[in-house]
């Protein structure tokens, strides 16, 4: 096992998780390559997403809009903002071709808003481009968040998973 790579990847992804929990969206957006996709699928078995319905299928423009909505103060479902704490673990490097690294991780997220504490558990697959310009040497080119209860009726989620 390449523990050096594992350490680099987990450092990058823990930073991503920390930025989201602390609503530091400018730095989060900067972690992405422009053509990257943030996807929250419904179908747990889906591997292609463009031709099916997802919860979110964000390119750069949609990520920017999503962030603007979260911080803009016009959306009643994000006022007050949800507080979240997530932990990532069980990193598994699925592929590394020298240019991109694909890694799968377990994400445990707890959300508190108004009077309710909720849990969202997800299997998350990231594709990272080795990119000297990105913080930690990577840029996100895909983040696929497979909620384990994605096929159930969810409550609304006013933050980024």
């Amino acid at each position: 096992m390449n523990t050096q790579l594992l350490a680099e990847v987990s450092a990058f992804l823990w930073r991503e998780a920390d930025l989201l929990d602390h609503c530091d969206y400018d730095n989060w957006l900067a972690q992405w390559r422009e053509d990257g996709l943030y996807i929250v699928p419904i179908d747990p078995d889906a591997t292609d997403f463009a031709d099916r319905l997802n919860y979110a299928h964000d390119d750069h423009a949609m990520r920017v809009k999503r962030v603007a909505r979260l911080v803009g103060g016009d959306s009643v479902s994000t006022q007050p903002v949800s507080r979240t704490v997530r932990s990532l673990s069980r990193f598994h490097i699925l592929a590394d071709d020298g240019q991109t690294v694909t890694v799968r991780a377990a994400q445990f997220l707890r959300e508190f808003r108004k009077e309710t504490l909720r849990d969202y558990t997800a299997d998350v697959t990231y594709t990272l481009a080795r990119d000297g310009s990105g913080e930690g040497g990577f840029k996100l080119i895909a983040k696929i968040v497979r909620l384990i209860n994605s096929t159930d009726a969810l409550h609304c989620i006013g933050y980024i998973l």
């Binding site: 099916r52 319905l53 809009k65 016009d74 959306s75 479902s77 969810l154 409550h155 609304c156 989620i157």
Partner: protein, 438 residues
């Protein structure tokens, strides 16, 4: 103090629905909710599926009619059945999947197996029954099923008026809505499901609530282009809401988009230019225009009492769970066999607004949650539904008023009152013990 929990029979329900308001207890009283399940959901045509969801023989979908689990399935003769999801032996559900394809439904408990039409086919080790089990007497219980414009409805009431009569003037709006196939059959291609802690009628009202749009959806409107924003700025515009009878209503926000096959020569909106260019590679110009115009959806919301709406570009389905819990499905519509690029555009538009991570739905959901919470304050107060009343006038189909009028809600509550206060006994099949095969 006691009024909120009194049994409905103990007071006059009809007094809770007035011409211009309804009583708060309609959102909060569990006894009223129980009564609604019997008198409305067990006693009306209830939408269960779009035909495309059970396209081939053996295709099934599990859902609910009111609180009762059912399976919608197409048999080999192309007939759609709606069957109670309950084994006739000792009641286990025979289907736990949301959708799929099968040859039969086999109860996992003792292995009774049923055909696609619900008939009881086989019983393991029948010897012990001797002559005391006639399989013909124990099919999965069937509801009556009828279809209009691809929309499939079921009812427990065998003597219910024909679906076409129940829909009445709503039918022409359903026909118009289906034009968003852009020349292709329309197909339900998935759905967003979410729940909110509130009464089902809060959602029922919302489908023809133009008043809320610019307020609650301000953050969504700030994420669309200027042209779309202007198009959606309809509250002071020429649109209207019309009561179509039997609790159905339509809200036309964008009159120009009532008929998606009209005005095909109009300039293509800027946001669809890229798509049009992509389509030109495979389709002639007139078809490109027809598809592009259809992609954005219709300019109206059609509310069909009690549980389904044709809402601009998608189907909005409500399922009452309890007096203060409602599940909503927003089913996306695509063009069956249509261009992938056009369908992708529809999928992305749906994701933009709908669902638990959309830019619109969460704000609606938050507002509805607040309605339910607020309804526990001032339990003697009323929900006002008098907006647009002075301007309301009678039409051949019903009554019409301005686009942000509460005419549609008034229509739904008048139907609610009619059903809830009917003096004839409710022939609720659910409540009547029966071993007949129906």
């Amino acid at each position: 103090m006691t009024t909120a929990s009194q049994a409905p029979g103990a007071r006059d329900l009809s007094d809770l629905v007035r011409a211009d308001r309804v009583h708060t207890s309609l959102y909060t009283d569990p006894a009223i909710f129980d009564e609604e399940m019997d008198r409305i959901f067990n006693n009306c045509w209830v939408w269960v599926a779009h035909a495309s969801e059970v396209k081939e023989p053996g295709d099934f979908k599990s859902t609910y009619v009111g609180r009762q689990p059912v399976v919608v399935v197409r048999d080999r003769k192309q007939k759609i059945h709606v069957l109670l999801n309950r084994c006739r032996h000792r009641a286990a559900t025979v289907c736990e999947e949301k959708k799929g394809r099968t040859n039969s439904f086999v109860c996992p408990y003792h292995g009774w197996s049923y055909g696609l039409d619900g008939s009881l086919r086989g019983v393991p080790h029948p010897e012990s029954y001797g002559q005391c089990l006639d399989k013909g007497e124990f099919p999965l219980k069937s509801l009556r099923v009828e279809e209009y414009a691809g929309m499939v409805f079921a009812t427990f009431k065998q003597d219910q008026e024909p679906l076409a009569d129940w829909l009445g003037p709503a039918k022409k709006w359903m026909d118009l809505f289906m034009k968003q196939g852009g020349g292709f059959p329309i197909k339900v291609a998935g759905e967003h499901r979410f729940r909110f802690p509130g009464n089902w009628k809060i959602q029922l009202e919302n489908t023809t609530d133009g008043y809320h749009f610019p307020v609650i959806h301000k953050s969504f409107l700030s994420t669309v282009d200027k042209q779309t924003e202007q198009m959606l700025d309809f509250v002071n515009g020429p649109g209207f809401v019309e009561d179509l009878g039997n609790g159905h209503s339509v809200m036309v926000m964008i009159p120009d988009l009532i008929d998606l096959e009209a005005n095909l020569d109009a300039p293509i909106p800027a946001r669809f230019e890229e798509l049009a260019e992509e389509l030109r590679a495979d389709y002639p110009e007139d078809q490109v225009r027809r598809i592009v115009r259809a992609v954005g959806g219709s300019g109206f919301n059609l509310n069909l009492f009690p549980n389904i709406a044709c809402s601009m570009a998608f189907f909005r389905v409500l399922r009452p769970v309890s007096v203060d819990e409602t599940e909503i499905h927003h089913a996306v519509i695509t063009m069956d066999g249509g261009p992938a690029a056009g369908n992708r555009a529809r999928l992305r538009l749906h994701e933009h607004f709908q669902g638990p991570l959309g830019f619109g739905t969460p704000d609606d959901s938050e507002a509805w949650e607040r309605v339910q919470k607020g309804a526990h304050a001032g339990t003697d107060l009323w929900i006002l539904l008098n907006r647009g009343l002075p301007g309301e006038r009678v039409t051949p189909d019903g009554r019409v008023s301005d686009v942000s009028a509460e005419t549609g809600m008034r229509a739904a509550y008048q139907q609610w009152k009619k059903l809830m206060c009917a003096t004839t006994a409710v022939p609720s099949s659910a409540a009547v013990p029966s071993v007949t095969t129906a």
